[in-house]
Amino acid sequence: MISVSLNEIYSETYKALRSVKIEWSLAKDCANKAKWLAQHDQNFLGSILKTADLYQKKEISISINENTNKKPLATALMGLLLVEYVSANKITWKGYIDNLKFLLAAMGIIAEEQQINLTLENEQKEIIAFTKEKKIYVNSNLDTKVTSYSSLKTYNYIEEKNTKFTSFKNNKEVTNLNDKCWERLKSMAFETYVPESETSKSGAGY
């Protein structure tokens, strides 16, 4: 395991995603979600590497309209855009998502920053998670790792019934990551760097 800072998670993530030609803003959104997940003691690194891989193979969708069980929406890339879109247009979005955690991160971010009340339901109309007063609450009876058909919408009133919902805890300590995965992310990030040129050598100290 390797201890890394949140700043490193952010900067290495977006650079790594840029190395597979993912749009700047999507790469940065993903980096912010990764940072949010790290802050809340959630795993994220393997999913990012997988997202990059599937994106390159075109086996993942970045369209909110065209996604299937086989080619679901990449929430690591599109999660924040999706929650903003649903919140701004006050619509219910339904579709297949590849990774619930990154959508939860996106919901968590928009709740903290813009205090928008959202609910996320599964195909059985069970609430997977909802946001309220700057926080996200997750149904502790459901497996959040499962890829599934989901529905995301804003709400005015929510009935929590008897389900137990828990919020994510803030991780005040350092983030420990699998060192091999971290090295892979860093080597992808390295692909975005450019060798020194004569022009750049006229920079500091040359």
Partner: protein
């Protein structure tokens, strides 16, 4: 006493200078240190904290090799600067950020490191970026001795002689840092984790404290070595000369993208600076004492300009003109009268404004802000910014186009199809992972360029947005056109934070990166900018600042435009 309770006679209605005046590179590149700069704020905070700074451990041999710890006791916490001094050859001593060896390496540490931690630090600090660092480390830094003066001063002191004032003035420091890393770099503590910590949660406070302590260490080191070398014959550096020694720094392009990437923060800094100025312009009357203070600061600025020597031809000319402007102002018979009028500072500035350079205008602004710290205490404590990850959902196509029309006219005027407006590109260098500038038609790497072509992105956005329904939400635009998300986010931020955008084409031929560096360095509190090209500069920090054993004194933070009176 806060701004609202001040006894100074002022109204609150003076408008602040608009972004179209302030956010131009030639003006940003003329900024000087002000009372709002971070070095100045640090001294205030150290005083408020009743901080006690002392040598905690000193294991340095007669040749200056070894380790040391400086302890800083604050009201509620202890920090320490951990120092390792290494042996390197003269030819290995370089300003280049890509250097691999340094005379000294440093880290600001939470608490005092235990034996194991010290052992880890000794292995990792000397290799800096290549090492893996501890989350108790707040900064990571290194410095080299000044080859121009370190040995010379050491020799003088060891034979009982004070070094020449001219020598001290010409260089201004004993050691020069080549990097001071903070905020989570290479595994050190994230800045966000300082939240709620009254001393450390301010931007660049840990970095500035590191530099201040490096200055203290460099002075202790030279006095120690002089004594070891000269024994009883030796003397310590006089207090007068000691105070005129700061810490040098070589700063290159690595710093430039910060101002582009941190829109909210740069807005906050510049908005606060401009707000401070507008409050000063709102002063209705000045008493005799304050009038004299202002004239005295202009005298100090004049002396400073006389002692500010650089090799760079363009900057030399600017300094020459600054010197002439200040001389003209000081010789003008009307200055006492002007300061006696209603709205004296505003009147004074407007009287001279059109006949002086930007360099002079901005040095005058530093002068005007200096005597009134009580007018911007609230601003000083509000130099940070909460950077949003999401984009506000309250905007539609029409709103975005409106903001562009009102705030980005500067970008719309640029003909982005011209080769000179596509002259260069920004990228991250493989060698040191630092931002660099390439020439579009010459250098490889444009496919990996950083998105600093703001004017170009604005034009692309207008082109797409004008074809979309005006009431379509910005969120819907972005989900269908992710390539516009970066610029739409910038535009929305700029609506409420209008000082968040540099109003020049950052990939154009006329762009001088040195202006971006100088703007940021002025907020750090740098003095004696000494450009070595358009791409990097040497500066001095803390020159003239009080020494740790003076922090308890009254009016100790009065050190704008340091100069040695006899040079």
């Amino acid at each position: 006493m806060g701004f609202q309770n001040t006894k100074i006679d002022l109204d609150y209605n003076h408008p602040i200078r608009p972004p179209s005046t302030v956010m131009k590179l030639d003006r940003l590149g003329s900024f000087h240190q002000t009372r709002l700069s971070f070095t100045r704020r640090l001294i205030d905070d150290l005083k408020y904290q009743k901080s006690k700074i002392e040598i905690y451990q000193w294991d340095i041999d007669n040749s200056g090799i070894g380790s040391a710890i400086i302890k800083i006791a604050l009201k509620k916490e202890t920090l320490s600067l951990v120092i390792f001094c290494h042996s390197i050859n003269d030819e290995e001593r370089t300003d280049r950020v890509i250097a691999e060896k340094w005379d000294m390496t440093f880290s600001l540490f939470r608490g005092i490191p235990n034996k194991n931690e010290l052992n880890q630090l000794s292995k990792n600090l000397k290799i800096q970026e290549s090492g893996r660092h501890n989350s108790k480390q707040l900064t990571l830094s290194r410095a080299n001795k000044s080859q121009r003066i370190f040995e010379k001063i050491l020799n003088d002191l060891s034979i009982g002689k004070q070094p020449s004032e001219k020598l001290i003035n010409d260089v201004g420091y004993l050691v020069r840092t080549t990097a001071v890393y903070g905020n989570g770099k290479f595994g050190i503590e994230d800045f966000s984790k300082t939240n709620g910590h009254i001393f450390l949660e301010k931007p660049f406070q840990a970095e500035m404290l590191t530099v201040y302590l490096i200055r203290y260490f460099s002075i202790e080191l030279i006095n120690f070595l002089a004594k070891k070398k000269g024994g009883k014959k030796s003397v310590i550096l006089s207090k007068h000369l000691t105070k005129h020694l700061g810490v040098g720094n070589a700063t290159g392009l690595g710093m430039a993208p910060f101002l582009v990437n941190h829109q909210e923060l740069i807005h906050q800094w510049i908005y606060n600076r401009e707000t401070a100025l507008s409050r000063v312009f709102s002063i209705k009357r000045l008493n005799k004492k304050t009038q004299n203070k202002i004239i005295n600061y202009i005298h100090q600025a004049f002396k400073y300009s006389l002692q500010w020597k650089v090799d760079d031809k363009l900057q030399s000319k600017k300094i020459e003109k600054l010197n002439l402007d200040l001389k003209k102002i000081l010789q003008n018979e009307k200055i006492t009268k002007l300061l006696n009028f209603h709205y004296p500072i505003k009147g004074f500035f407007n009287f001279f404004k059109d006949d002086i350079t930007l360099e002079t205008q901005e040095i005058l602004i530093s002068v005007f802000i200096e005597p009134f710290p009580e007018l911007f205490e609230d601003l000083l404590n509000n130099m940070g910014a909460d950077e949003k990850k999401s984009v506000s959902i309250d905007y539609n196509v029409n709103d975005i186009l409106d903001i562009i029309k009102n705030n980005y006219n500067w970008a719309l005027k640029i003909d982005t199809t011209k080769p000179e407006e596509n002259y260069c590109f920004w990228y991250t260098s493989q060698t040191k992972l630092e931002p660099r500038l390439g020439i579009t038609k010459k250098d490889a790497g444009i496919d990996k360029q950083l998105p600093f072509d703001i004017a170009h992105q604005i034009k692309q956005a207008v082109n797409t947005l004008s074809k979309l329904p005006p009431n379509m939400t910005a969120a819907e635009v972005m989900i269908n056109h992710p390539e516009l998300r970066n610029i739409i986010k910038r535009v929305i931020i700029n609506k409420s934070m209008p000082y968040s955008e540099i109003q020049n084409n950052l990939i154009g031929k006329d762009m001088k990166p040195i202006d971006i560096l100088r703007c940021k360095l002025s907020f750090f509190g740098a003095s004696k900018y000494d450009p070595k090209s358009n791409l990097w500069t040497r500066i001095t920090l803390f020159q003239g600042a009080p020494l740790p054993n003076e922090l308890w004194k009254k009016n100790i933070n009065d050190w704008l435009f340091p100069n040695l009176s006899n040079v």
